[in-house]
């Protein structure tokens, strides 16, 4: 009985430790994200819906309505002859099945479609898939997360684990959860992917910035998805 109680207390305490970035933002920003009529990603979502049914071999011709992809965004990054995140999957679909040229990284239409697909999984918990390749990738991602890097000699963990909820200059350091990507970041004045966020952070500590869709970024994404596993998604997010 006592052991059970202890276990329950431990579980509750553990559950309370993780806070999504959206819950630590200012009330004004939280409203911006919660109210669809104010959400700054609405334009991108409207573009996504337009692109969804564009062309003879449109997304809609295979997948039907975007709403049918509810839950799809919770299962990335996945392993399919290599690591692939949600924007990567959309690129592959475009190249293989639509016979079109891939978009450049962070292209507006790519982010718009990613946001549209991710939006369908609102409220669902992140459930990154398992598998030997993914486990190995997550392990490498974890060691990247823990390793000091750049001229400032900082690891991700030093800020987002050890100093989360403290301040860096005037800004709150979030725990670095990945439950709302892609996000509309007010500083960017645009939607951006998780890779853009990671590259920005690495640039901030003056480290060598990995290429788009490089193994390092995808491995980090794999680890971060597991770190945030079980948290409810609310994409697209709004961030300061």
């Amino acid at each position: 009985m006592r052991a059970w109680l202890l276990l329950v207390v431990a579980l509750v305490a553990h559950a309370d430790e993780r806070r999504s970035g959206r819950d630590t933002m200012s009330p004004a920003l939280r409203t911006l994200q919660a109210d669809d009529a104010q959400h700054p990603a609405q334009l991108a979502l409207a573009l996504g819906r337009e692109l969804w049914r564009e062309g003879a071999r449109s997304c809609a011709s295979c997948h039907g309505e975007p709403e049918k992809l509810r839950g799809a965004a919770t299962r990335y990054p996945a392993w399919d002859h290599g690591l692939v995140d949600l924007p990567g999957r959309i690129q592959r679909c475009r190249v293989r099945h639509q016979g079109q040229l891939a978009w450049p990284p962070e292209a507006e239409p790519l982010l718009a479609l990613t946001a549209l697909v991710a939006q369908q999984s609102r409220g669902l918990p992140l459930t990154p898939p398992r598998g030997p390749e993914l486990d190995a990738a997550a392990k490498r991602g974890r060691s990247l997360y823990m390793t000091r890097t750049g001229a400032l000699n900082l690891s991700c963990a030093q800020c987002h684990d050890e100093r989360a909820s403290l301040r860096l200059g005037g800004s709150l350091i979030p725990q670095g959860h990945v439950d709302d990507y892609p996000v509309y970041r007010l500083e960017w004045q645009a939607l951006g992917s998780l890779q853009r966020r990671l590259r920005g952070c690495l640039n901030g500590v003056r480290a060598r910035v990995p290429e788009w869709d490089s193994a390092e970024l995808l491995e980090l994404e794999t680890y971060l998805a597991r770190r945030s596993a079980g948290m409810a998604m609310q994409p697209p997010g709004v961030r300061p």
Partner: protein, 107 residues
């Protein structure tokens, strides 16, 4: 890519009662003060003027300047006594012009 705008109106409006209008247009709002990756100045490209008309009558307008964010979002309140058509116009640099119209649905 076609210009896009998102306009939010209440589903049903009551005659004589104020209602909120929200309008966003996709626009970079380039200030003219920034430089690109090659060091050259990015030319100014702003939405300069926003106008909202109710059956042709100007009911709300705004002049926008360089400090306004990309995808400018405006929210304002109007009052109407009868159903009609509400139109939105954004005009700016480089001959930018975008028009949207919506019917006003009364309860």
């Amino acid at each position: 890519m076609a210009t896009r705008a998102v306009i939010t109106l209440p589903a049903a409006i009551k005659a004589g009662e104020p209602f909120e209008v929200r309008a966003t247009v996709a626009h970079a709002m380039e200030t003219g003060y920034r430089t690109g990756d090659d060091g050259a100045r990015l030319p100014r490209d702003l939405v300069r003027r926003f106008e909202c008309r109710l059956d042709g009558e100007l009911v709300f307008s705004a002049d926008l300047f360089a400090a306004v964010s990309a995808n400018p979002y405006l929210a304002f309140w109007l009052r109407a006594s009868k159903p009609g058509e509400i139109s939105f116009t954004w005009r700016g640099d480089k001959g930018f012009e975008h028009r949207e119209t919506r019917p006003l649905n009364f309860a």
